[in-house]
């Protein structure tokens, strides 16, 4: 699943970064605590969070994330969008709740595995 697929699955909108990135999501980390996100060992993470701040983007960059999804359509600041563009992190806004977004992602992964 690429970031373009994520945008579709989560009924979202790409707010920053390259929406055509070929990178494939390896794991979803749904968390609002950045220290927890930094602790994960997973590669090619998609960060799903309600933390609509620069720190979410900066954290994503540190762990080499494929992209960041802000759920509940939380408003994004201009600086956040700028940081995402500067660091080349695709940033997606989704109207879904954290729970619904997780379920949708899970279903999409299963569908993909079935082929």
């Amino acid at each position: 699943m690429t970031i373009a697929d994520v945008v579709k699955v989560l009924n979202g909108k790409l707010m920053a970064g390259d929406g055509t990135s070929p990178r494939v999501v390896g794991a979803v980390v749904a968390n609002d605590l950045m220290s927890d996100v930094l602790l994960t060992d997973a590669d090619d993470v998609l960060l799903l969070t309600s933390l609509a701040s620069d720190q979410a983007i900066r954290t994503a960059h540190i762990v080499g994330a494929v992209g960041v999804v802000i759920h509940n359509a939380k408003p994004l600041s201009e600086t956040m969008i700028k940081v995402a563009n500067d660091l080349g992190i695709p940033l997606v806004s989704s109207p879904l709740s954290k729970y619904d977004a997780c379920v949708k992602m899970h279903d999409a992964f299963l569908a993909e595995a079935r082929g």
């Binding site: 605590l33 950045m34 930094l38 620069d54 720190q55 900066r58 954290t59 960059h61 540190i62 080499g64």
Partner: protein, 341 residues
């Protein structure tokens, strides 16, 4: 209220030959390639690579007395007067001395600051800065970005330090090349040395994390193994955030040598009364504001310790906190005879 707008004098394109002629370094003595190397460095290095990114500043309506306190507490001799990133002037120790002399200490800084400023742009090559230091008597210049926002300050020392480090690396490369030509054995280990420093400002949460992001990028450019680079960046990030939210401000330093990367975070206090308690997982003095930013779960120090190959923390209450994390770049050899059966 007066709407101050400083006269900003701006640089023009400069002639690097002239600068080379004025630099005390005898380029010719270093051999044929060296002047090329220096020229290349002066162009490749940009003002933003060497400037201090702090920037301490003071609003226009602050008093000379407040300015004096900030200058004294930070051991600096000049302070930008700026609001929302816009630069209005500079207040210097000289202005304070005049103020003391004339009883102006309760006047606002905009009445006595220098507002006719010479500035540099972040994207200018370092040769511009050298030229400016040659042509003006100022010890430092404010740095603006392309949107005319104040993003840093640069002193002669910053430039010299950066150039000296890079030069020593380049000269060693040249020496090695020359040595190769006369078929001498290569030195046993290349002690490549790289050092960079970032100022971290108390409570500057738009800036916090920027140093760690830059560190990650630098490590990628230097082709450091991806998983090691990630561990280094995680520690740098947590330590940078700690300086930002728990201290009065400080610096984050990265040193890359041949076989290790060291991240050091040092601040100006308040220090940690109980280090053992602070390093425990989940202990924190963070407030709601910090938690609203996604930190403050008390995991920063333990996270840094977990990812590092070497971890050390020193602190003195009222003075400083210093955390050092080191990372091996080369795989460690298994200790002899230590294999389990």
């Amino acid at each position: 209220m007066s709407d101050y707008s400083p006269t900003i004098l701006q640089g023009q394109q400069t002639n690097d030959d002239e600068i080379l002629a004025k630099t005390p370094l005898d380029a010719k003595a270093l051999g044929g390639d060296s002047s090329v190397v220096i020229m290349e460095l002066l162009q490749r290095f940009k003002v933003r690579d060497v400037m201090k990114r702090q920037v301490l500043s003071i609003p226009r309506k602050a008093t000379l007395r407040e300015a004096q306190r900030i200058l004294r507490e930070n051991h600096i001799s000049g302070l930008p007067v700026s609001e929302d990133g816009r630069l209005y002037g500079i207040i210097s120790v000289n202005d304070i001395i005049n103020g003391l002399d004339h009883g102006w200490m309760d006047d606002t800084v905009d009445m006595h600051m220098a507002s006719s400023l010479v500035v540099l742009e972040a994207g200018m090559p370092i040769s511009f800065a050298l030229r400016y230091f040659n042509n003006y008597t100022y010890g430092r210049f404010p740095v603006l970005d392309s949107n005319r926002q104040l993003v840093g300050i640069i002193s002669q020392r910053d430039v010299m330090r950066a150039l000296l480090y890079e030069l020593s690396v380049e000269i060693r490369k040249l020496e090695r090349k020359t040595a190769d030509k006369v078929a001498q054995p290569a030195p046993p280990s290349e002690t490549h040395f790289f050092r960079r420093e970032w100022a971290v400002v108390h409570n500057d949460l738009t800036g916090a994390g920027r140093a760690a992001n830059e560190i990650k990028q630098l490590l990628r450019e230097k082709k450091v193994d991806r998983s090691v680079a990630r561990r280094i960046a995680v520690a740098a990030y947590e330590l940078e955030i700690n300086i930002c939210i728990h201290s009065h401000g400080g610096v984050l330093v990265m040193v890359i040598s041949d076989n290790a990367v060291t991240i050091t975070a040092k601040d100006r206090g308040p220090g940690i009364p109980d280090i053992e308690w602070a390093c425990r997982d989940g202990t924190s003095t963070a407030n709601d504001w910090i938690r609203s930013l996604g930190f403050g779960a008390g995991m920063g120090l333990s996270n840094s310790k977990r990812v590092a190959d070497f971890f050390e923390i020193e602190s003195e209450v009222g003075k400083f906190t210093k955390v050092t994390c080191a990372f091996n770049l080369k795989k460690l050899e298994a200790p002899a005879g230590g294999t389990a059966s």
